[in-house]
Symmetry: C2
Subunit: 414 residues, 2 copies
Amino acid sequence: MVKIAIMGHGTVGSGVVEVLTTHADSITSRAKQEIDIKYILDLREFPDSPLADRFTKSFDDILNDPEILVVVEVMGGLHPAYDYVKSCLEAGKSVVTSNKELVAAKGAELLKIAQEKNLNFLFEASVGGGIPIIRPMSQCLAANDVVEVAGILNGTTNFILTKMINEDMSFEDALALAQKLGYAERNPAADVEGHDACRKICILASLAYGKHVYPDQVHTEGITNISLADVKYADAWGGVVKLIGEVSKTPEGKLHSIVCPMFIPRDSQLANVDDVFNGIMVRGDATGDVVFYGKGAGKLPTASAVVADVIDCVKHIQARKYLFWEDGSPDYVADYLDAEVAMYVRLKGDDPDGLCRLAEEAFGEISRLFRKDADPGEAAFLTPVLPEREIRAKLETLAQHGAQILNTIRLSDF
Amino acid sequence: MVKIAIMGHGTVGSGVVEVLTTHADSITSRAKQEIDIKYILDLREFPDSPLADRFTKSFDDILNDPEILVVVEVMGGLHPAYDYVKSCLEAGKSVVTSNKELVAAKGAELLKIAQEKNLNFLFEASVGGGIPIIRPMSQCLAANDVVEVAGILNGTTNFILTKMINEDMSFEDALALAQKLGYAERNPAADVEGHDACRKICILASLAYGKHVYPDQVHTEGITNISLADVKYADAWGGVVKLIGEVSKTPEGKLHSIVCPMFIPRDSQLANVDDVFNGIMVRGDATGDVVFYGKGAGKLPTASAVVADVIDCVKHIQARKYLFWEDGSPDYVADYLDAEVAMYVRLKGDDPDGLCRLAEEAFGEISRLFRKDADPGEAAFLTPVLPEREIRAKLETLAQHGAQILNTIRLSDF
């Protein structure tokens, strides 16, 4: 029997307890031994829980108990999760976490401690909820060079965009519906401003290329600026707007990484990832495109990924697993403005046709998009592929000629 | 350094050599040691290969060399692959294979020998080519009960059906094109009659439910009977025809497993899996639906999956991996005629409307489908959900009233 502690009894934490309890027999048989929850750390009281006697408010109970070999961290947030996890690893306890903020901010440091102590630090649930992605990427794609990773990594924003695309709902109405259904927090900033997706692409980028990418190195745009007009123009172009987290290697050996809304062609595998689902494309030089799809969040999907890691931990209690990446460096991620990209531009002005002619002169060629019921003075077009810095400069010129640039959205290359 | 042998130098085998050679540095770093190809077994001569000095025509060279710890079997076919693999395992060598025919026919037996000898027997490449599916299913979904697995498991038939659906090509023309492009063999029976998909669903079923399912236990229908008329009716219904391999548990604890063309609704994640791509849906009780998508065949995708297994093997040379299932039993798979299903029926007769009225009486209710340019005397309808045996009996009655049943296709429930 292996005794474990679970830190946090919120949505995911209570899900972990539920999965461990309801699937006890099959888990015991897969882990080759029984898994016993000795402590649950939470400041709140849960007198009605069948495991009420396991609750503690003191982290030290866990830290100082030599019987505890595996600690599950499902509290979320950076503090005190980081301090607790670090202390656990330093005390010789393996850690399983679903905390993407923690892994994105401190992954390299914690993996290093785990390596030195010959422990496991596993975080399958931190990206894609119940979708297996961390392990397949690190193991099955071991024989590939990863050319690119691109994914719909946040279910809340994907739900909102799906409602805008399929039901003509405004951003505000779709957000309100997401909040009503429990998909979005009352303060939705982490989702709609792209921070959650940013943390996840940082984890995937670190894993794919072996060096830590920190969230503040990744240019991040959310979806608060996306209007129904943009959605219609995407449709006219032949695609949909999705919030994408992306990473690839530049010819100079740096990384290109960005989180932003993108136009995705309708025949892309990611275009059909709707509602709260996530889809992650891993492009390998040998495998080609492999796509992983499923529910990216939710109590039981995330909990089942945590429990799978716990089982793996218990089975390899003396053998460190394969996960590792080095620390990063300030110049590891290239300036996003240097990346080559084609861009959708929506603008407004007194003479939109004249502005488009100016744009055509500036860009060499553009292709205009049209939608029904366009606002007066509105125009939209696609630029050719150019370094983003050049596109921005040319749009600046247009602005000086009276164009009001309403939105710009990058076109995907997948 | 670990010395390995590769049995077979066909498409996959030469791909394995290529991946091991071109990615040598990253593979060495991931495997923690160098992987050296000491032997390549093939009866043919490859004088121009840079590894020409490693070729042998004698299996005994490999079997009797105690330096060889890992053997890669990429010969295909049941004999002599089975005998060679069994001898290797009995001699204490771990085996990696891409051979679905071998695993589907002999998996339980070979896994048992591997377990007894504390060796690895790995076969990620046997299903889904470069798509990671065996390992994610067995590891990441460890905390789930698998409710159902359903997949597009054969790229050749999916290519043919895609051409029929999107380009109105006849089955014969699409097959000829597939052969021209190298996607189909000159003798295409294993693909178009469903045997290849059957072997793969047997492997997934064995893994998901822990007991071996043999190919002759799974009712298998191919796509040779699918006409453009069926494709059009599927479109009228709101979906597409795909060749599906499926397995789920019956309430009695047996398995339901079948390989056959199915009508898939257009909003299913599997409906958009086109051309030579594969898509596999795993429905877990906690994760919900997880879908894996990618190239299901091809030299480099398959080779990279083989090499990933080799790396895993080399890293765990002394530690047996998690893969295991018991032997099966003759009554383990339920009779497919007992499964409840809704069915598309296309028939012909002197009075099609009258036959449909008869069908409505027989089935209680049916819903008729219509297509442009239907043949004279043709009609198509959907039955309600009933045990297949009852549907067949009622269709028999219709036949006695002069109906010529042209085709029947099951409707998917995913």
